[in-house]
Amino acid sequence: MGAASSIELRSVSKEYHRDAFTIPVLVDLDLSVAEGEFLALMGPSGSGKTTLLNLIAGLDRATHGEVIVHDQDLGLLSEAQITRWRADNVGFIFQTYNLIPVLTAAENVELPLLLTSLSRKRRRQNVATALRIVGLEGREHHYPRQLSGGQEQRVAIARAIVTDPYLLVADEPTGDLDRTTAGEILDLLQLLNREFEKTIVMVTHDPLAALRASRTLHLDKGRLVNDVIQEARVPAAS
């Protein structure tokens, strides 16, 4: 890969405990993701994709091993520190968008900025910029119910990038969308990866979506079974 390592997982295991049972989800996983890489995680249900995504995003903690993101060992951070770290470094994109229904598109995008010390004027400028990047100028005052699924996901992407995070994590971002709209969202993610040099980790079941990434990891039963680097990935439609 050659580039500086952005995400480093060393001998990472994750287990869940349910009553008397211990369920291994990730087993002794080693992984290195370069800065600016667009990584797709694939695998059957229960293979540990989302768990791996959660560990990288600082939403969950490994049972064993080290998760280092952007030179920060996440295992060393307290609950409050890792919350702050997420606010500064990670943008989240969910399958079902997870917008706040009572807030407009602009207000949804503004949410992460409320955690900063930016002035109201500056926050509005940043929101406008984020919405422009995702192609939603003129929709600032629309509520989620007034938007299509693709537009909602664009708002979610704008919310993810508005603080200019280092890393974007996307869990099935096109799972609820039709083929055309999914293509547009993937175009947008590619744009963010190429033009804005965001490191992106995306979980997907869709092989066509995975082809948009620069690298695809296949997981099965918590283990890495295949690591494919797309030399000639599908280019963005635009």
């Binding site: 939403l59 919350t83 606010a87 989240f92 969910f94 997870n98 409320l114 955690l115 869990d171």
Partner: protein, 394 residues
């Protein structure tokens, strides 16, 4: 302040539920304000009477006992006394009315010096002094009955078999927390009529004739009050009619005590109301937060820490309950400032208002209800593991 917008939107998320919660809080607090205010208002009025340096003297056996009218002059002669008036209850009714108002037999020369907060034009007071058939009524009574100076005031005696045909010689006014529906008639007129009626009926009513009922004494200053009080009671300690003298404030409280432990009962009712409101508001908040589990998880994922989540949920809960409190407590305050309920209480409550202390207490209670009902859902939301919260959709 930057979260206010988000909090307000959440409050309006389910308008019906919010409206019902606000309404239930508001109505319960409204009723509670009415109950609690009775004593608070009474306390306020009693405490406020301190500035007038007045003493009330009754027979040691209470209202049933007699105070000879001659004692009014004897008390007036004591050191430290500024003015004294008999204050004898004339239980009667105006014309054929069923709803009574308070009528007292007083000394026209002294009554407005003793009740100094009541005002009356000088010429009207003089007319009251000069005319034995005269009486003076309060401004509110005059307004309600459309009575004017010079109008006849025929009274039918209930407590005493004495009917009086009086003429209104004056209309007094005073602060809003004073009874402005009383009728003052001259003691000498009443006593004379009473003796005449008793003589014509051949009944021996000598023990009730010349009874001042109660003596109201205004002292020259507050420091003179203990000595005057002692002196009055000492003077009659070994007489046929021993007295009990107390401050006007203590006299007012004595009336409350006659109602038994009503205050304690109202406290218990208040606690029950607060508890039921806690259940209502707590349920509404718990439902609201259960519906928003994923949203809370998203907020936590994007960087909202425990403290902020706690704050957002508690602020929402307190805003809803506080709105109910404002509606109930401040609404009742405004309503009773605007509507005079005394005509509907048969004279039992000459005035009624919600003291500011009670209204603010009600607002405080509603905020407490909001806080207490929000704590559980807030702590649960703040402690929600992000991964668990997102699992519903991820």
């Amino acid at each position: 302040m930057k979260y206010l917008h988000y909090i307000l939107r959440n409050v309006r998320r389910n308008p019906v539920r919010t409206a019902l919660t606000v309404a239930s809080t508001g109505i319960c607090l409204f009723l509670m304000m009415i109950l609690v205010s009775f004593f608070a208002m009474s306390d306020e009025v009693n405490t406020g009477s301190r500035v007038h340096n007045r003493l009330a003297t009754l027979n040691a056996n209470g209202f049933a006992g007699v105070i000879p009218i001659a004692r009014v002059k004897e008390v007036a002669a004591l050191d430290g006394v500024e003015a004294v008036t008999p204050f004898s209850w004339y239980g009667g009714k105006y014309k054929d009315e069923v709803m009574p108002f308070a009528m007292f037999c007083v000394d026209p020369d002294a009554v407005f010096r003793v009740l100094e907060e009541l005002t009356i034009p000088k010429d009207q007071l003089n007319a009251f002094r000069k005319n034995r058939d005269g009486c003076v009524i309060g401004r509110k009574l005059a307004k309600e009955r459309r009575l004017q100076v010079g109008d006849p005031m025929p009274l039918k005696g209930d407590t005493y078999p004495v009917d009086l045909n009086l003429t209104i010689r004056g209309i007094y006014d005073g602060p809003s927390d004073r009874d402005l529906r009383m009728c003052f008639l001259r003691y000498d007129t009443f006593d004379e009529a009473f003796r005449r009626v008793a003589a014509s009926s051949g009944r021996d009513v000598s023990q009730f004739a010349g009874n001042a009922g109660m003596i109201f004494t205004k002292c020259k200053n507050a420091s003179a009050m203990p000595a005057v009080s002692r002196a009055i009671d000492d003077l009659y300690r070994n007489s046929d009619y021993p007295t009990r003298t107390q401050t006007e404030e203590a006299f007012g409280k004595m009336f409350e005590e006659m109602m038994g432990d009503l205050r304690g009962m109202i406290r218990l009712i208040g606690l029950a109301v607060v508890f039921s409101l806690l259940c209502v508001a707590g349920n509404a908040m718990a439902m609201a937060m259960r519906e928003r589990t994923t949203e809370v998880a998203v907020l936590k994922a994007i960087g909202f820490d425990r403290g902020r989540i706690l704050f957002l949920v508690l602020a929402e809960s307190m805003l809803v309950a506080g709105s109910g409190g404002a509606l109930g407590a401040l609404g009742s305050k405004a309503l009773f400032a605007w509507v005079d309920i005394s005509p509907y209480t048969a004279g039992f409550l000459p005035f009624y208002y919600i003291p500011w202390s009670v209204a603010l207490q009600g607002l405080g209670i509603s905020l407490f209800i909001g806080f207490a009902s929000g704590v559980g859902p807030a702590v649960r939301a703040a402690g929600l593991p992000v991964v668990d919260g997102l699992r519903r959709v991820v």
